[in-house]
C-alpha cells in the first residue's frame, strides 16, 4: 500500500481514499514518515489507526491479508477501542466518531466498553497483576472458573497472593473439580490468603466480575458457557475505574460473600439438626419399649388374679407373689415416667432450678434418708452405708453451695441406689473433699464394679440395663450436675467396686 511511486494520485495508506495533492483541506495531512517510509493519509484518525496496526502486526501490515475496503466498511474497525495499556499512551480524542458507547471523561475516571475477547482477557490480566491490596472475583459459572484455570489465571493469582501478600477472595459456583481445587489451595500453606466461597446454582449470574484494590472493575458477559475457550465463551466487557461503579460492585461482592457464609452455616446446622432428630427418634423408640414392658405384668397378673378370685384363698402364695410383681413393676413404671419426663424437660431446657444456699452435709444426709426409705423393702443386711462428715481436725466450717436442693439430693440418692444395686456385701462410703473452688462428693462401694464395656457410655441414655434400673439415672445426674456448673465421673476402684463422684462450685458469698 505504499504510495512512493504514486505521488500524483495519493491514496490514504489506510482506507485507500483518494487524496488530492496540495489540498488545503484541514483533513488532508502531509506525508508521514513511518519506519523510514513515507505515507499519506486521508484523516488524522487514519494515521493513528495505521500506526496502531503497524505496532500490532509489524511490517506484515503492509501485506495485510484483509482487503483495504474492509477497513472502510467494517464498523468494528471504525469503532476499535484501545486497550488499557494504550489508554495510558494515547491522548484523549474528543473527536471520536460514532463511539456512542464510549464515555470519555478523564484518564483516571473511565468506563470503557471492550468488545474483543482477547483484549478483555489482557485487561483482566493487566489489572489483576497490578493489584496491590486485594483482588475480588465473582465467576458467572463453574465453567468460567475452569476456563480461567486453564489459562493459568487462578494459579497466577495464587502465586501473587503468596509472594506479594495480597488478599484474594473468589466467589464461584461449584462442581466436584472446583471443590478439589479449593481443597488443594487451602492445603498449600499458611501464607495462602486466597479465600473461596461457593455460590448456589440458583444465584449464578451471567457476568464474571473482577474488582482490584477497590479501584478498578472489569465486568465480563457470559456469551456461551458451553465453549472451552474463553475467547469464544465471553461477550462484552466493561472496564471502570470510576468510584461509584467500582464500589457498587464491591458491595455486590460483599453481600454475596456474606450470603455464602450464612449458607454454609445453615448447612452445618441442618446436619446437626438431622443428627439430633435421629437421636430423638431412637430415644422415643427405646423409651416406648421400656414403658410398655412393666405394664404387661401389671395388667396380666391383675387379670389372672381377678379370674382366680374364687380360688384365691387356697393359694395365698400365688396371691402374694403376683401382687409383689405387680407392685414392683408399677414402681418401676413410676420411676421410668419420672425419668423420661425429667429428660424431656432437660432436653427442651425447661428444667427449672430452684437455687438456694444449702449446706452440703444436709444434702448428703437428706439423700441418705431417702435412700434408706426407698431401700426398706429390699434391705441387704450385708451392706453398710457410711458417711463421715468431718473433713479434718481443723476444718469446722460449713460448706455452702448454691443449688436446687431437691435435684442434688436426687443425684446423691441415685448414686447411692446404684451402689446398692451392684454391691452384695461390704461397705458403701460417702466422703466429701473441699478445694478453694468447689466441693466433691464421692460414693465408693465394694461391689462388682463397672462393666468395662459400659464405661465409655456410662452417662448416656439407656446404658445401664440392670434388673431394677431404668438406664436413665446417670444421664439425668450428669445433666443436673452440669447445669449447676459441676462435673460428674465414675471409675472402678483399684481393689474392688467402683467410685462415683461429682463436684459443685462453692458459694463464695
Amino acid at each position: 500500500m505504499t504510495n512512493n511511486t504514486d505521488k500524483q494520485q495519493n491514496k490514504c495508506a489506510l482506507c485507500g481514499k483518494l487524496i488530492k495533492e496540495q489540498q488545503k483541506d484541514n483533513s488532508a495531512i502531509d506525508a508521514e514518515i513511518i519506519d523510514g517510509t513515507s505515507y499519506t493519509f486521508d484523516k488524522n484518525e487514519c494515521m493513528l489507526m495505521f500506526k496502531r496496526l503497524r505496532s500490532v502486526y509489524g511490517a506484515e501490515f503492509e501485506n495485510s491479508l484483509v482487503p483495504q475496503e474492509q477497513f472502510v466498511s467494517d464498523p468494528f474497525w471504525n469503532r476499535a477501542i484501545p486497550t488499557v495499556q494504550e489508554i495510558k499512551d494515547i491522548e484523549v480524542e474528543k473527536e471520536a466518531v460514532g463511539r456512542e458507547e464510549e464515555t470519555v471523561i478523564a484518564k483516571q475516571d473511565t468506563i470503557k466498553l471492550i468488545q474483543d475477547p482477547a483484549e478483555i482477557q489482557r485487561t483482566a490480566v493487566d489489572i489483576g497483576t497490578s493489584a496491590k491490596d486485594e483482588v475480588l472475583i465473582i465467576f458467572s459459572t463453574a465453567n468460567a472458573f475452569h476456563r480461567q484455570e486453564r489459562l493459568g489465571g487462578i494459579q497466577a493469582l495464587s502465586e501473587a497472593v503468596e509472594k506479594r501478600g495480597i488478599n484474594a477472595r473468589i466467589l464461584t459456583p461449584k462442581d466436584k473439580s472446583i471443590e478439589n481445587t479449593v481443597h488443594k489451595l487451602m492445603q498449600r500453606g499458611k501464607h495462602t490468603k486466597i479465600e473461596i466461597r461457593f455460590i448456589e446454582p440458583d444465584l449464578q449470574s451471567q457476568v464474571t466480575t473482577l474488582i482490584v484494590d477497590r479501584k478498578s472493575s472489569l465486568v465480563v458477559e457470559l456469551k456461551d458457557d458451553t465453549k472451552e475457550s474463553i475467547y469464544e465463551a465471553i461477550g462484552l466487557g466493561i472496564y471502570s475505574n470510576r468510584k461509584a461503579t467500582v464500589l457498587s460492585y464491591v458491595s455486590i461482592f460483599e453481600s454475596f460473600w456474606k450470603q455464602a457464609e450464612l449458607h454454609q452455616q445453615l448447612g452445618r446446622l441442618y446436619e446437626q439438626l438431622k443428627v439430633h432428630d435421629q437421636m430423638q427418634k431412637e430415644f422415643i423408640n427405646v423409651a416406648a419399649h421400656e414403658l410398655r414392658t412393666p405394664i404387661q405384668p401389671i395388667i396380666g397378673l391383675a387379670e389372672i388374679l381377678r379370674s382366680k378370685k374364687d380360688t384365691i384363698v387356697r393359694s395365698t402364695d400365688i396371691y402374694d407373689e403376683y401382687l409383689s410383681i405387680i407392685i414392683r413393676n408399677a414402681r418401676r413404671l413410676k420411676e421410668l415416667t419420672e425419668n423420661i419426663l425429667d429428660i424431656t424437660r432437660i432436653e427442651s431446657q425447661s428444667m427449672n432450678l430452684n437455687t438456694q444456699k444449702a449446706d452440703i452435709d444436709n444434702l448428703i444426709l437428706g439423700a441418705i434418708q431417702e435412700s434408706t426409705e426407698n431401700q426398706s423393702s429390699i434391705i441387704n443386711h450385708n451392706v453398710k452405708l457410711m458417711y463421715n462428715p468431718s473433713l479434718g481436725e481443723n476444718d469446722r466450717s460449713n460448706i455452702l453451695v448454691s443449688v436446687d436442693k431437691g435435684r442434688i439430693i436426687q443425684v446423691i440418692t441415685n448414686l447411692i441406689s446404684n451402689a446398692f444395686s451392684f454391691t452384695k456385701k461390704g461397705v458403701i462410703s460417702i466422703t466429701k473433699e473441699k478445694t478453694l473452688e468447689d466441693v466433691t462428693v464421692k460414693i465408693k462401694d465394694t461391689g462388682s464394679g463397672i462393666d468395662p464395656q459400659i464405661l465409655p457410655r456410662l452417662f448416656t441414655k439407656f446404658t445401664t440395663r440392670s434388673e431394677r434400673g431404668t438406664g436413665l439415672g446417670l444421664y439425668i445426674c450428669k445433666q443436673i450436675v452440669e447445669a449447676h456448673g459441676g462435673k460428674i465421673w465414675g471409675k472402678n476402684n483399684d481393689d474392688q467396686g467402683a467410685t462415683f463422684g461429682f463436684s459443685l462450685p462453692i458459694n463464695r458469698e
Binding site: 423408640n285 414392658t293 412393666p294 404387661q296 396380666g300 387379670e303 410383681i325
Partner: protein, 147 residues
C-alpha cells in the same frame, strides 16, 4: 440370664401325653415370661380340659436355642427385642431345626412388616402381638394359632 426355673419336670412320655400342645416363650423380661406362662396355665383350668397347654419359658435366647427340641412345640412366642440376637434371627435358627413350629412375634414398639418381609423372606410374619396385651386376647390368640 438363666432359664425360667418354673419349667415343670415331667417324664418324656408324660410330656407327650398329658398336654395337647406346647408353647415356647422367649422374652428377656422375667416378669413378662412369668405372666404369660401363668396366664396360659390359668386358662388350662378354665377352658376345655382336653386342650391343655404346657408352657416353657426362656429369658436367654441362646439358652432357648441350645435347649430346643424339634417336634416338641406347636407354637413359639418370640419377643423382637432380645439381647444379643434379635427375635427374627432366633426364629430363623429354630426353623432350621424344626420347620413346622408356628411362630408369633411380640413387640412393644412399632413394626414395619414390609421392611421385615424383605429382610426375612422365609419367616411367616402373620402373627404379631403388641405388648402390653390383655390376657383374654392373648390366650385366644395363642389357642387359635395352635388349632
Amino acid at each position: 440370664m438363666t432359664k425360667d426355673i418354673s419349667r415343670t419336670t415331667t417324664t418324656t412320655t408324660e410330656k407327650k401325653q398329658s398336654f395337647w400342645k406346647r408353647v415356647l416363650i422367649v422374652d428377656d423380661d422375667a416378669d413378662i415370661t412369668m405372666t404369660f406362662k401363668r396366664g396360659i396355665e390359668n386358662s388350662n383350668d378354665h377352658s376345655d380340659s382336653s386342650k391343655r397347654i404346657e408352657v416353657y419359658t426362656y429369658n436367654d435366647p441362646m439358652a432357648a436355642l441350645s435347649d430346643f427340641e424339634p417336634n416338641f412345640y406347636g407354637l413359639m412366642l418370640i419377643d423382637i427385642n432380645l439381647p444379643g440376637i434379635n427375635g427374627f434371627q432366633l426364629c430363623e435358627k429354630i426353623l432350621e431345626l424344626d420347620i413346622n413350629v408356628r411362630v408369633c412375634f411380640m413387640s412393644s414398639g412399632e413394626i414395619n412388616r414390609e421392611a421385615l418381609r424383605e429382610i426375612y423372606p422365609r419367616i411367616s410374619l402373620g402373627c404379631f402381638i403388641k405388648k402390653p396385651v390383655n390376657m383374654d386376647y392373648f390366650i385366644k390368640r395363642v389357642r387359635a394359632e395352635l388349632d
